[in-house]
């Protein structure tokens, strides 16, 4: 089943967190939309694609033990809803850490990882996951 184009067309957002700013209300949102969900018609022509910084704080989290087949080798893995610095909310996996290192408010940033692959012969899909912002060799940067 060829799903390459379905993934490919979202690459700017999957690789680089391209969202948008509504120049009617000033809000940032992700992923791109045709109109702002708040301003609706007023936002027509005032939607500006924006690359979000990809840094934010954990808003909610869960450690998934029974997961997708694609994540099977990583079980258990952490998934978080992240409030980005610009205010947009996104959901993604949090990598390279134990769930015990994370709580609501923990600072994270995006990293590019494999999201899934279509078997061993098919296309590999890459996209954002989140990783702990470690302030240095000493450990996680909590607020």
């Amino acid at each position: 089943m060829a799903t390459a184009p379905r993934f490919w067309r979202e690459n700017p957002s999957r690789y680089n967190m391209v969202g948008f700013k509504c120049n009617s209300c000033g809000r940032y949102n992700f992923p791109p939309r045709t109109i702002c969900p708040v301003c609706r018609r007023k936002s027509v022509g005032r939607i500006e694609p924006v690359k979000l910084k990809g840094t934010g704080k954990i808003f909610s989290l869960t450690e998934t033990h029974e997961g997708m087949d694609t994540q099977n080798v990583q079980k258990p893995y952490v998934v978080a809803m992240v409030e980005l610095d610009e205010g947009a909310m996104v959901t993604g996996q949090v990598i390279d850490c134990d769930a015990s290192e994370l709580r609501i408010g923990t600072k994270v940033r995006i990293a590019l990882r494999k999201l899934s692959e279509e078997g061993t012969a098919g296309v590999i899909h890459y996209g954002y996951k989140f990783t702990l912002v470690r302030d240095g060799p000493d450990g996680p940067g909590d607020e």
């Binding site: 992923p31 033990h65 029974e66 978080a80 959901t91």
Partner: protein
């Protein structure tokens, strides 16, 4: 608008129905409802079928026509429509049937809901269920359907101090109710400890916090309320119907601890019915996960925000409580064949309002409510039902 009554109900057993195909279970429920209404095929003006994903579960689309055909309705060439809104497909099919009768377009309408989930692997089944969420921006990023509800639970516990034990109490209560329902998938009581020690699915939710995968179907027969007396000893009126939508992805909601779509669908249904929360004695809510029932009883207005867990712990949602929630056992114990669920909820409420719920009968039940959710709350359908005094 005309008043609408329910004159017949039918439901299959819910569970792993290895011997039964999709079409077989769909037809069994429909035939039972038609028999209960004491009508025959030529009386039926239209058919609505709630179904989420036959295309992926059994590789069959076009199931409106399929059910009409195998019910013997093809010869009458009646309009047959499949309705899809993920988990809310059944409730939404009921609403479409309700509108068809209320508008005067049709007199006798059969509303069915069916899903055959066990013909695919567990992995495939959970992938299909997660397509109710935002495939591109939630599922593909690795979050499961249970995971999304876990994000809600984590946040609800954080904001309101809802406890892990209170979540377990939802499952304990619904299993107790399910033990009294001969059609339920799980007919045995469980203890809090069983829930708390069951395998972790996605923290904090464990196996016993999650509704099972099920096969099953349910159906109701609707007709104008003034004609209902001709067909049924005790017709039940649909007095309110409300539907609301919200963002597809959970992370785009105003508040992930509140299903705004539930609040608004309920508000619209209560307004149409001219009823208030305290009038409701029995409610079937969408407990696909234990946290979902906590949100439901808060957002429907039975308890204030943040107090759903405590209310459950205090037994206020048990059969003998302030409002009996999920007397059927709910999605958790009765089972959750996705497209059938919303219709099965109506079947339970009609059974209760008829006073035919036997051991699980809620005393003096005269007004009932159903709340049926699609995805993590992107579609919610609420109906209110009343027995003639």
């Amino acid at each position: 608008m005309r008043r609408v009554g329910i004159i017949g109900i039918g439901i299959t057993e819910f569970g792993e129905l290895w011997d039964s195909s999709f079409r077989k279970i769909g037809i069994s429920a429909g035939l039972a409802a038609v028999e209960d209404a004491n009508i025959s095929a030529e009386h039926i003006d239209a058919l609505y079928v709630g179904n989420m994903s036959a295309g992926r579960f059994i590789r069959q689309e076009h199931v409106g026509a399929l059910i009409a055909d195998y019910s013997g309705l093809a010869k009458g060439h009646i309009p047959a429509t499949r309705v899809e809104a993920a988990g809310a497909s059944g409730g939404l099919a009921l609403r479409q049937g309700f509108l068809a009768v209320a508008s005067g377009m049709n007199d006798i309408v059969v509303v069915g809901g069916a899903e055959k989930m066990t013909d695919v692997s567990d992995v495939e089944s959970s992938l299909i269920q997660s397509s109710a969420a935002d495939q591109e921006w939630e599922t593909e990023l690795g979050v499961t359907f249970a995971g999304l509800h876990s994000l809600i639970a984590t946040r609800h516990m954080h904001e309101y101090g809802t406890t892990r034990e209170q979540l377990a109490d939802v499952a304990v209560k619904n299993h107790r109710h399910g033990s009294l329902n001969p059609k339920a998938q799980f007919r045995r009581e469980i203890s809090r400890d069983v829930v708390l020690k069951s395998p972790m699915v996605s923290s904090p939710l464990r196996m016993f916090d999650c509704a099972p995968s099920s096969d099953g179907a349910a159906a109701v027969v609707l007709c104008p309320f003034e004609m209902a007396g001709k067909h049924a000893e005790m017709p039940i009126e649909i007095v309110g119907s409300g539907q609301a939508s919200d963002s597809l992805a959970l992370h785009h909601r105003r508040d992930i601890c509140t299903m705004d779509a539930t609040r608004l669908a309920a508000k619209r249904a209560f307004k149409m019915a001219g009823l208030r929360q305290k009038d409701v004695s029995v409610a079937e809510v969408h407990d696909n996960f234990t946290i979902s029932e906590i949100l439901a009883i808060e957002d429907l207005g039975f308890f204030s925000k943040g107090e759903g867990g405590k209310a459950t712990e205090d037994g206020r949602t048990a059969l003998e409580g302030d409002v009996a929630v999920n007397s059927s056992g709910g999605l958790k114990a009765r089972g959750d064949p996705i497209g059938a669920t919303g219709v099965a909820q109506a079947v339970e409420i009609v059974t209760q309002l008829r006073g035919k719920a036997d051991e699980r009968q809620v005393k003096d039940a005269s007004v009932g409510l159903t709340q049926n959710v699609g995805g993590t709350g992107a579609t919610v359908v609420v109906h209110l039902f009343r027995r003639e005094m």
